[in-house]
């Protein structure tokens, strides 16, 4: 019997998150800090492998800074009678899921009502680059959980953070993610990674900063 003992270079990811008071512009005194493992998504695995099998052509799955979301709150559908897209439609980046409503979209059939969105996009100080070594990819971004409105929604109240997502082509259009009839939002079409978060909160005017590191080791 043959026994293979593969030599494994593995890709690991982890997320660091800080919150700061918005007047702490030098970010010297974090109010909170957490560090999480993450779950690498199949899209990223398969995209890399597909390219490794290819005979020509550049890679095309990168998450750079060119298509990053520009709206902290995803907004709502313009039409009150038909399903539609948010203001962050097909944008990239890092999304924080909170327990406060940040937008809404009509469901496909008007009679079915709305899908409420509880996503907060990090839109400022965006970087996507190598880490301390060439085999490390690091993305970083931040945003202020400030007060505001979106339609009838009051935004920016104290809330709990439930999840971090990183990926490309944000798309919440009122239809549930394929295979999830309970109505989970699609979020990113091209999913890179995600992680659960517990015991992390946002207070009004907090600045939250995330650094997402994926290492091929």
């Amino acid at each position: 019997m043959e026994i293979f003992v593969p030599k494994i270079p593995f890709v690991t990811g982890f997320v660091q998150a800080w919150t700061f008071h918005n007047e702490d512009v030098l970010q010297r005194e974090p109010k909170q800090y957490i560090e999480c493992d993450n779950e690498i998504e199949d899209f990223l695995l398969e995209s890399i492998m597909t390219h490794m099998q290819s005979s020509s052509g550049n890679t095309g799955y990168e998450l750079d800074t060119s298509g990053w979301a520009t709206n902290k709150y995803p907004g709502d559908t313009n039409s009150s009678t038909t399903s539609g897209d948010t203001d962050n439609n097909l944008k990239d980046g890092i999304i924080i899921q909170v327990d406060d409503t940040t937008g809404w979209v009509k469901k496909q059939a008007p009679a079915e009502g709305h899908n409420l969105i509880k996503d907060f996009a990090l839109t400022d100080s965006i970087t996507a680059q190598a880490g301390g070594s060439s085999n490390i990819a690091v993305w970083s971004a931040q945003a202020e959980w400030g007060t505001g409105t979106s339609g009838d929604l009051d935004l920016g109240a104290d809330c709990n953070v439930g999840h971090f997502y990183i990926g490309k082509y944000y798309h919440c259009d009122g239809t549930p993610e394929e295979g999830n009839a309970n109505g989970s939002q699609k979020r990113f079409r091209d999913k890179f990674a995600n992680t659960d978060v517990t015991g992390f909160t946002l207070e009004t005017d907090d600045v939250i900063k995330l650094t997402w590191t994926i290492t091929v080791g």
């Binding site: 030599k7 494994i8 690498i40 490794m52 099998q53 085999n135 993305w139 290492t215």
Partner: protein, 164 residues
């Protein structure tokens, strides 16, 4: 939780002797830093092609000629002489793995002893632009592999990305 992408490589070596005897051994490879770099950088910026199927080697005569701009498997003997292996993709359609196969026949009068094999993309002056991995024929303790006149050497190289 899937918290890691685990690209790994395994190599199966087969020698079909002139008298029909078949020798098999296998082991792990070492993934090269160049591949790790390409993988990491492709996640945050577009990279040029580093695919393995980029114009595969096609000479199975134990030639020392390593053409430029080709990919596949190169073997090196104990005197550091390199040879290309005719390389074919036997499975380039999986979501999580691919397999390439190298083949070479010794029709010379001398035995050639192979010490190492390399898998990579896009040669220039005998070196890969992106080296995927290296295999040491003595990794399993069986020693370097002699390929005598009339013998055929086959290598099957599988690269896999697992999620656990």
């Amino acid at each position: 939780m899937k918290d890691a992408i685990r690209p790994s490589g395994k190599v199966e070596v087969q020698v079909i002797k002139k008298d029909g005897t078949v020798i098999n051994h296998s082991g792990h490879n070492t993934i090269h830093a160049e591949l790790k770099t390409e993988m990491a950088q492709s996640m945050f910026s577009a990279q040029g092609n580093f695919g393995i199927a980029n114009s595969l080697f096609d000479d199975d005569t134990f030639t020392t000629t390593i053409p430029d701009n080709e990919s596949g498997i190169i073997i090196k003997d104990t005197n550091d002489v390199q040879y290309q292996m005719a390389t074919t993709g036997t499975d380039l359609s999986s979501d999580t793995s691919f397999t390439v196969r190298g083949e070479v026949r010794n029709d010379s009068s001398a035995s050639i002893t192979i010490a190492e094999a390399y898998l990579g993309h896009d040669t220039a002056s005998g070196n890969f632009g992106v080296q995927y991995s290296t295999y040491d024929f003595d990794v399993d303790g069986s020693g370097d592999q002699a390929v005598a006149d009339g013998d055929q050497l086959n290598i099957t190289w599988q690269i896999t990305i697992d999620d656990s």
